[in-house]
Symmetry: C2
């Protein structure tokens, strides 16, 4: 939080995550990971508000998908499967068909930070209410 | 005890005793977390380079310190203990006394992202080489 360069990097990565999900792995930078498995370790938070900057994290869970799915996330297996199916593109995780939610506006914001398949992730997504959040699948349900 | 003034004084002191400690959380920003334990979930990465923006994450581990220390970090118990002792101030984690490292400059950068005691964390620290990194304690040794 104290390093302006770090903030700039985070903002840059966020911009990449938001604006460039369709480019696949083309935005990889720097040397390739050397481990047998590319690291995939994430921390997810949820809080009430429109942006992460304005919302205190009410819950925070970890999720590791590098080998055996694990973490304090309540459903690591399903969450990692969703991420793999979406090739790490968090914006591609859409609402499940057949789930009905009210139109109440009581926004909740989810953040996902860490590494997916060796690429840094800094992601934030706001849902209109808790029902809408949970309707978006296992990853966002914690 | 039958004196109303005495009763009032007793009640006042009891209220102070019960409510007083809560003011210790005065440095929290935004709405207070609602969970019984303030969330403390982190993801740590390490890569070769001077900045996280320039260094691909070669390893990434999770660490959850909210209740029982857990995660893919190799020493969750010691890592959480260090964080608690430093009150979450990552810059306060200093090199252990008596560890000697070469002056070789082959920088490694560690990032720590997530939540500590309900507060968001986005931290980056560069060490001159691997030996210097590991000399800084259990948290940075993964």
């Amino acid at each position: 939080m104290r390093n302006p360069a770090r903030w700039a990097a985070t903002l840059g990565l966020t911009a990449t995550a938001v604006c460039g999900p369709l480019t696949g792995a083309a935005h990889a930078t720097g040397p390739a990971p050397t481990a047998l498995y590319a690291p995939s370790a994430l921390v997810l938070t949820v809080g009430h508000g429109e942006t992460a900057a304005a919302a205190a994290p009410e819950r925070a869970v970890t999720l590791d998908c590098a080998t055996r799915p694990t973490g304090t996330h309540p459903a690591p297996l399903a969450a990692c499967a969703e991420l793999r199916a979406a090739d790490g593109d968090l914006d591609a995780l859409d609402a499940r068909a057949g789930v009905l939610c009210t139109r109440e506006y009581n926004p909740v914001v989810v953040t996902v930070d860490g590494v997916w398949q060796g690429q840094r992730v800094s992601y934030e997504r706001t849902f209109a209410n808790e029902c809408v959040r949970i309707s978006h699948g296992a990853l966002f349900t914690f």
